[in-house]
């Protein structure tokens, strides 16, 4: 079975642009979570979606938004990019709201 897949794996943007990151969960998993990992830090929680509903939101500005589709895949959107948004964005899926998360390889975003 395929694990969590994310795209793109790497991307470079300039300040002010927007970006869309995509994630497909493990088959059968209904929950998708997004995390931001800055170099040298642990992952920071951004969003969790379960059955297409937002179940949690971390301390991130409104420039960050996400959604989950009927097939349980998800998108993370970031508008008006700042240099500080440069990070590894990790998507994780789980069967339910709680329990262990299974992570994808991440999308490495560089903002110039």
């Amino acid at each position: 079975d395929a694990g969590v897949t994310q795209s793109p794996t790497h991307l470079i943007k300039t300040r002010g642009q927007h970006v869309t990151l995509r994630c497909s969960p493990i088959s059968g998993h209904k929950s998708v979570s997004w995390y931001q990992q800055v170099l040298g830090q642990g992952p920071q929680f951004i969003f969790q979606y379960y059955e297409k509903e937002e179940r949690g939101r971390g301390n991130f500005p409104d420039r960050f938004s996400a959604r989950q589709f009927p097939n349980y895949s998800s998108e993370l959107n970031v508008n008006a990019l700042l240099l500080g948004d440069s990070a590894l964005y990790l998507c994780a899926s789980s069967w339910g709201v709680a329990g262990e998360l299974f992570f994808g390889e991440g999308s490495r975003l560089t903002v110039l």
Binding site: Y35, Q41, G42, P43, F45, G56, L90, G99, F103, G106
Partner: protein, 111 residues
Amino acid sequence: EDKVVQSPLSLVVHEGDTVTLNCSYEVTNFRSLLWYKQEKKAPTFLFMLTSSGIEKKSGRLSSILDKKELFSILNITATQTGDSAIYLCAVGGGSQGNLIFGKGTKLSVKP
């Protein structure tokens, strides 16, 4: 504020050594504590602990949780160069019920 603190932040050992990684937490609505190994990008799941005093083992790795003192340890015996990675501790809970991660411990195993 919910927090997870790992120590040490980095550690260099030689093959064959035994290491102990520490994780302390202050998290409301505690549900579980998880350990992950991160080598390049994707953190890979190691253990999930929910009950105090019950050791979980997988090969040379073991972990235990103390819910009274609010900490967990991850032991790795007979370390190998392939154990070199960042080990992340995460606690499920808080106001949102999500995983709250520590900064990680970077383990380097020298031949």
